[in-house]
Each structure stands twice: as C-alpha cells, then as structure tokens.
Amino acid sequence: MLTIATGNKAVAAAVKAAKPGVIAAYPITPQTEIVEQIAEYVTSGDLATQYVPVESEHSAMAACIGASAAGVRTFTATSSHGLLYMHEMVHWAAGARLPIVMANVNRALGPGWNVWAEHSDAFSQRDTGWLQVFVSTVQEAYDATLMAFRIAEHEDVLLPVMVNLDGFTLSHITQSLEAVDPGDFIPPVRVPHAIDVENPCVYGPLTGPTEYYKFRWDMERSMRDAVGVIADVEREFAERFGRQYGVTEDYRCEDAEVIIVAVGTLGKEAEVAVDLLREEGIAAGSMRLRWFRPFPKLDFGGRDVVVIDRDYSFGFGGVVAHSIRSTTGAEPYSVIAGLGGQEVTYGDIAGFVRTRQPGAEFWFGVNGNV
C-alpha cells in the first residue's frame, strides 16, 4: 500500500508488519513518535503484541533480552542518551546471541542539550556486537527495519540489529512510503537457544578464562557470516518487493575521480552535490555507507575520497574516515560536518570536494582549522 509517513512512522509500520511478541520501549526525542505509533497500533488492535512501557532504556533492553530469551520476536527503539543509558544491556543482548531489533534515531549527546542529528550515539556502540545499518529515506527506514528481523534471526547470525535514522532530518520528515505485506519473508521467529523448561539450562553463567574467548570468537564468526546473509536477504527483498539495497549506495561512481562518502541523509544530499559538481566538469561520485557493522570491504581504486563524518572520536578523528583509512589504505579528506544538526547543504558538500586536501581534516564552520 502506497501512502506517506514520517521516518518514525515508517519504522513503526515495519514493526507492525513483523509482528513482534514483545515490544519494550521508553520515549525520547526524536524517537518518541515510534513508541507512540506502536502504542496506537496496540490500542487499536492493529498489532497484537505485549507492549511493555518500561521506566528506562536500560530496562527496555533488559526486557527485550528476557523476552527474546523466552523465544519471541522483540523490538525496541531509542535515541542518543537513551542508547547510552542502555549501553550495558546493548552488549548483553549481543553476547546473549539474541536477535533483537532496535531502531536508533541518531541524535547528538549533551551537554549542551541538543536533539538534532548526529551519529556519535550509534558509533559509540560499534564494539558491542550489534549489526548497524544507516538509512536515508522514509522508505528505506521501513525496508531496513523489516529486513533487520530476517537478518538478526538468521541461524548463521543470531546477533541483534540496530537500524539508524537521522533525528528530525529523517525521523520527522514526511515522504512517500510503500508498505508491503511481508508474508513468509518474515517467518515465525526461532531462537534455537530459547529457554526450555523441559530441558533446563543456566544461561550466561560464570565463564572462565579458558572458555570465555571462544564465545567472543563465535560472535565475530557470525558477524563475518552476516555479510553473506545481508546480501541474500537484500537480494530476496529486491526480488519480492522491487527495491534493491547494498552495503553502500553508489551514485555516478563508475567514472568518478573523486568519491564522497557520507552516512544517512547527508549521503543522499551528497548525490545532489555530485550532480552540481558534474555540471562544473568535476567527475564526482558518491558512496553512501549503509552498513557500518559488519564494516564493508570498500575499494576506491586509488581515487580521491572525501569523507563526511557526522561524529567525532576525540583525540583521534572522524570515525568513518578512519575506518576507511584503516580498511582501504586510502587517505581521505576528512570533513567533520553536521554535528548536532549543523546545517550542511549540497552546496556545502560540493565545496568540500572542490577544496579537498587528501589526508587532511576539516571541521566545517570552524575558522582556522585543518
């Protein structure tokens, strides 16, 4: 069914289609609309789920862990400080190998209070063992949320998946949305290690130094296997519903001399900058990074790379720029832009490309840096 929705409502609609058994969530700006919309679905009877209105994000994830361990499909949503407050349980969910799906509406961190888009919240969870995907349109928010359940619950993965969408810039904008009937694309969930009272086990007991690392290795093994599972699920989704995604969304890259890498809505805005640059005779392309964990194998073939990071690792640099540097050997021009919702237009992005200095770092809007 074709309709319009905000990014938040698209996530909620995908969750409704996936029919989780338990949803536990706590409201936080700008994610609130997801929680509200799910509460509407539950009240109206459109979604038969156990809705747990928890008292904190730590408890939201803990409740999802308890529910997933009992063998049902689970979902939660959060943002920013909420995500950081649940950090302990974010690790726990992955270590417990539970296929929980979470929407994270990317938002900056205080102080000062800032409710606008930034990716630092999600990137601060990058070592938890969660798969992370970043979306850029209302439709993609829907599609990625639906696919997240398939990917997380795949027997070769059994790791939780975080679907990231930019706060306000995507969570609150209205675009068209085609909701689908997932049918058997989303089969009933099967958690192979779900609690079975007939076969009592102790989950997560004390585990000594001679055993512990084996379970960590198994997480990494599954993260590696997830690469293929993601590709398969996205391929199947394209066959069934007609929309194809990948680890990156590449735009006019084939003959490009310089490639812009950005995440989320800035990645879409970069496509407009590419068109602008092409009109000027600059052979630009853009590669919007979708999957951040597992981090994809990228190849820039020796071309210039301009990375826009809507995040920062203090004392180190832009997280995406450094990830690309360490995995590809490229020396990107690292632009730090869009922090806390800082306005970045396609014109600005085109400017970054025109004045690029490979290997250098540039904070957009800050005088006298580089």
Partner: protein
Amino acid sequence: MTAIPKEEYLLKCTSACAGCSSSLCLRYVTKAAGPDTVLVVPACCTSVIQGIYPNTAMDIPVYNIAFAAAAACASGMSNAFRALERDTNVIVYAGDGGTVDIGIQALSGAFERGTDFLYICYDNEAYGNTGMQRSGATPLGARTTTTPGGKPTPKKDLDRIVEAHNPPYMATACSAYPLDLYKKVKKALSIEGPKFIHILAPCPPGWRYSSEKTVEMGKLAVKTGSWVLYERENGALTINGPSKAAMKKPLPLEDYIRGQGRFKGITPEALEEMRRQIQMTNARLSREAEGIC
C-alpha cells in the same frame, strides 16, 4: 505439617559457602515453584552458587542478567511467556544490593506495570559476592569492608518502598523458617501480578559467625524483633506466628547482636538507636495488624 516435595532442584552440590542461607532458601523456593519456572538472577552470590560453565547445580532454567536489570528482564520474559500462552513462573532471585540499590528502579518499574512475576530479595545485608561491602540494606553499626568503623546510617526500609506499589502479595521470610518460606512462595505464585518476598539471609563470613549458627542467627533475628515475619495480601497485614510471639515478649537485642563479629565495637548509642527503630517498627506493624492505624 506441609508436605514438602522430595524433589531437589539444587543438585549436589553448589559452590556456596558452608552454611550458606541463600542455598537453603534456593532449595525451598525451587521446591515451591516446581520445574515450570525460570529464575532470573542478577549479579549476586547466586551467580556463583550455580557453578561455573559448563556445569551447574541448578536443575531449573536460570537466566543470568546484569546487576541493575533483573526486574526488567523478568518483566519482558513474563510478557513473552504470556504472548506464548504459557504460565511459566518467572522469579527474580536477587541479593540485597541488586534490589535496594542498583536494581530498585527496575523493581519499581516492573511493580508499577503490574508485571506477573515474583521478586525475591534474599538479604544478607551487604554485597556478599564481592567480599562484603556495605549496601543500602546494611544495618546501622555493622562493619563491612567499606564501613570499617560501622555503618553510620540505618538499613533502607525496602518493604515500605515495595508496599508503596500496592502489590497484591508481599511477605517477609527468613532462612531459619524454610517451611514458612515454602508456603509463602507457593501462595505468591498462586496470585497474578507482581509479588514480593524479602528473605533475611544470615551470612556466616559476612556477619562473622561460625557456619553452624546460620539457623540460630535467623531465629534470633526474629525472636528479638529485629526481623518481623509477615504477609501483606492486598494490603492487609498478617504477622506470622514466631513474630507474634516476639512482639509480645522479645528476646534482648544483645542476644542477636553479640554473636556477630560485624557488630563488634558497636557504640552504645548506635545500639540504642537500633533498639529504638526496632521498637518503632514493631509497634507500627502490631498496631496495623490490630487494625489501629
């Protein structure tokens, strides 16, 4: 006498300390709950008591979870079992630190939401698992590794906090009265909604007494009125037998305090204050039980 099932869900043998009252309580809690039960256990002595991977002494499912998260995890689990149309008992089995301190927010949330589960706090009045640091449940004057001069403030009144949530059933218990505990767990599990049982669990290494005195210590706590056994069903209070007797004629508080190394060197002022608080609590509960309040 209540027929206690022969089945043991705590296999021989746990890695609990000799004379551990938490082990004793676990035996009766699991006997009362039966095999269609999941214990949700946050970091506490019971994390260790279960045994080390890949073996365990627990013969019912146990879900270990982070310190602050037990009530919330149990909440989601209980909802999941309801979604699956199963009435598996979900029981949190948590220590005092994980309940009165770091876990109290999750506890409060789960009770406010009306979660169908039983929360059991076994209270040895300190962080036993990490070597006896003070918790909010440590009593006034007790020495712990973080209150080497004796705790300057009294024990947090957890029961009145839980009571403020108006659960359909709550009770206190003591490891020295295992049959009473068994009955209370049975009753709690027969009621829908959030239930709470607070067990006083004397701890030989923590309280510094020799292990054979675990039962005696619990009985003294009750007989001196330091610990009152009661049940509260839909708010209505019933004082249980041993405590009724203690209210009429309590043993001297010193009988309970003297045998515990943790109270060695307690000041007369602290002892007086403790006595005053015990009298206040007993008077309050007894007035309420008689309908005068």
